[in-house]
Amino acid sequence: MTDTTATDPIRLHKQLDRIWSTAPGFGRLSAVNHTIVGRRFIVTAFVFFGIGGILAMLIRAQLATPRSAFLGPEIYNQVFTMHGTAMMFLFAIPLFEGLAMYLLPKMLGARDMAFPRLSAYGYWCYVFGGSMLIIGLVLGLAPDGGWFMYTPLSSRTYTPGINADIWLIGITFVEISALSAAIEIIVTIFKLRAPGMSLDKMPLFAWYMLVTAFMMLFGFPPLIVGSVLLEIERAFDLPFFDPARGGDPLLWQHLFWLFGHPEVYIIFLPAAGVMSTVLPVLARREIIGYIWIVVSIVAMAFLSFGLWVHHMFTVGIPHLALAFFSAASTAVAFPTAVQFFAWIGTLASGRPQLKLPMLFLLGFFFVFAMGGLTGVMLAIVPFNWQVHDTHFVVAHLHYVLVGGFIFPMLAAAYYWLPHFSGRSPRHSLGITAFWLIFVGFNLTFLIMHLTGLLGMPRRIYTYDDAAGWEWLNLVSSIGSFVMAIGFALFTVDIVLQVTMGRRAKRNPWGAKTLEWATAMPPPTYNFASLPSVTSRTPLTESGGKSDNLAIDLARGQGYLGFVRDGRLETLGVEITSGRLEQVVRLPNSTFIPLFTAMITGVFFVSVLLKFYLVAAIGFVVTIAMLLMWTRGWGDRADRGLMSVGLGEEAPPHTEVTGAPSNWAMTLGLFANGTAYASLAFGMLFLWVVAPNWPPPVLLDPSVLASALAVVGLAAAAFAAARSVAPAALARAPQRELWLAVAGAGHGAALAGFVVLMTAVPDPTRHAYLAATFVLLAYVALHAALGVVFAAYGIVRSRAGYVSALRSLDLRIGAQWHRYTAAIGLIALLLIHGLPRVMGS
């Protein structure tokens, strides 16, 4: 043990930096550090923003004059589809993910995110998936059915080319990064905080990100399920959306907007988090209504999942449902208004400074307020019938998204740039950039409301001069180019500031959150020692002057102000109280996330090119590589309590019940369960709503195969529970036997499911057969993975990573086994029960 009690900050820095740093040159590709990966997410997102912006300019160039011959409909349809897709999936979500990754550990007083390798893996998935879409665009094969891909237009009959497949597969690839980021953000906020930081002392930004991440966890699975089903329909002709064979195009709309509406709040909440963080600092007082804000964020999250139908007011749904969704949609105004007035009240009772980030915050107020008001208008059903799918909606959504996301994010860029770069501006072009963006934006979109009211639908590539839309479109196009110049100037300004700015002084805004206690730019390990937190304004704690806390920490006078066994360590806390609970060991930089993402890419590209054998190999290798991440990772002997400095002790994360990875599995299963529920919902929805039901044949699934599956699943769940019982954990042969039983149980269940699947006659005939087949395939895959995880548990046990104290690996596995048993039994219940209940 090279425990040092160094009070020499330079020596401590060298010791820490040696183990936390990433190698130069090609070694950079092995980076897993949250500061580096977060920065990469942000920069990459802005590159995609540039691409999306160029597409927007093509749109406005085309629409500037009537009967323009600039772009034909084929190109124009690709351009507007890719504009929406890039801005939503490749810009907005990755940008706030990057910001969260960069900021959260620093704000919470930790040294990294909970799963650094997962961050890196997610980043590569994002880059590769996004590149697939951009390559498609360059080759003229980009998706062209609109960014919400309505079926049957996106079905094979009406979009026979590869275009729609590129969207479905590329976006699903990118969504891996969204789901992994969601899990990682939740676990980091739950567990990796400075001791003493109870939930009610967390910075508001962390609350916003926590709720956002939960929304992603439940919002993305329906989209992924919808995309997978549509791809299966396109590739293998299993009908889910084809009304002639019992499918329903409305199922796609429900699955899409079940994701798509929360998505709007998923994008807004991180930006609101920036508002709640930056605004009080520049108003020089604490924010008012902390608890009110937290409650309204949570309320927004719940409401947003009950609103998706307001994108479907014109599909002919029943009156009562219309009234309900209309009222629920307007109800979002309450939590929005609470936050809005909390911000205004904070400004009113503080001493606001009109600095550059504040200018962008004011831009937010102006633009977002207007977007919110038109949002209430759109929630009013009769009005919605008129303006739905017109340029009024285009104007509204840009007011909401640009106002509610881009303005706060530009404020964030200027506010945190000194932290990122260690530099502050010499002369800022930022003020000019702000006015160009602000004026250009309103010029483009304010009158576009009128264009829509005058009857111009969205997504038409040209118009004639009889409609009276010419001058409106010309003004919008001019405005959009003014705005584009503003964004170009912003980019130049940021580059100038990063390369030539003055050295910034520490904490230039006088903020009170912990990220300003690091050096600027931050060292690889964030804090040389970790603080103990007793209030919401930790920077004011240490003697009342922020520099003191920063210096104390740099001198190693907090927790973990030393290097132990060359390991990367940070602290884990109990979720609500923030009480010290565990020492979390984090991984060093490694190439394995990059390689795993490449193999995952092989899987997705093979699916796209219909090389299914290669795809299957890619899938298996991806799983194998993910398991390889744990090689040599863990302890072969019990360590017990370890000193963390300041006279306190805590066990390593491998020896506690609430380890981060255990939480990750729980959350992953939440997402998985949501996907499964979406699938089951789809089957029920079709049965109740779709045309051409009941199906031509009702299945009578084999009782023998079903019984085999039930027994197998029950055995797996039971054995898994036994394997982590104290008695079994203490004795290797016993726990390995139970794991073998669990594996065998899954094997039996798998056999049962496969028999049931092969008994489904030609699933291309009807949606009922197709849905039954896919439901069984879903649980069969889980049973197959159950075999793998049981075997993996045995391997870990044999290798000495398991003891009565170190049961983490087995408990993670046990979660999977129990979950698989549950969804397997539900599947059997559905395939046996539904024909009996619904068929009669």
Binding site: S326, T330, A333, A348
Partner: protein, 217 residues
């Protein structure tokens, strides 16, 4: 094509809804922006204001006072726009396909006639449209007469339409439906009673494939 230059009761009702909401939204927007401006021009103006005023007053009471009457008004006016289901109302079956609209009129004797891309109606009389699609999703929209409704394969949606005076009203497909989406336009011709009968009488008989739409509502 303007939704504000109305020629039928449905569009007129929605247009007045719009003007009411526009005035309300302008007042709210001006109020909020003025508050915001005050916080900069009169710094510390809210220092004596209790926190609850902002949160309860601004966050809860304010939207409640604005939204409740709006919702009631909207539900009341929206309810009158739904099809009445009155059997006396004339019915037309509308079938959308890439990229054409077909209108089938059933007459009292059980026969049916059809027209393509032009819908004939009698001015001053409501007509109920039963709308479906045979391929992808389209949307039926005549901005000067009423709001839009989707044409969805496998489903039938219903829209009630009335033109106050004779004339020709432009209609279009409002849901993106492929490469010729823009060309999928149609006309609604509203005729005087006598002229209407003559026009319908002159239409060709409907071929079986575009008869009554099938599917679940």
């Amino acid at each position: 094509m303007s939704t504000l230059d109305t020629a039928g009761p449905a569009a007129a009702s929605i247009a007045s809804l719009w003007w009411v909401m526009l005035i309300g939204a302008t007042l709210i927007f001006t109020f909020v922006m003025s508050l915001l401006a005050l916080t900069f021009f009169r710094p510390g103006i809210g220092r004596g204001t209790p926190v609850a005023w902002w949160l309860v007053g601004g966050g809860l009471a304010f939207p409640a006072v604005v939204l409740t009457p709006l919702l009631i008004y909207a539900l009341w006016s929206g309810e009158r726009l739904f099809p009445t289901g009155d059997p006396a109302v004339a019915q037309v079956d509308v079938v959308a396909r890439q990229w054409e609209w077909t209108f089938t009129y059933r007459n009292a004797t059980g026969g049916a006639v059809r027209s393509s891309n032009t819908l004939h109606i009698q001015a001053g009389q409501p007509v109920q449209l039963n709308i479906t699609s045979t391929d992808v999703i389209h949307a039926f929209w005549v901005p000067r007469l009423a709001g839009k409704i989707d044409a969805i394969p496998g489903h039938v949606t219903v829209l009630q339409l009335k033109a106050d005076t004779p004339g020709v009203y432009r209609g279009l497909c409002a849901e993106f439906c492929g490469v010729a989406h823009l060309e999928m336009q149609f006309a609604v011709e509203a005729h005087e009673a006598g002229a209407f009968d003559a026009v319908i009488g002159g239409l060709p008989p409907a071929t079986p494939d575009v008869n009554a739409p099938r599917g679940r509502p």
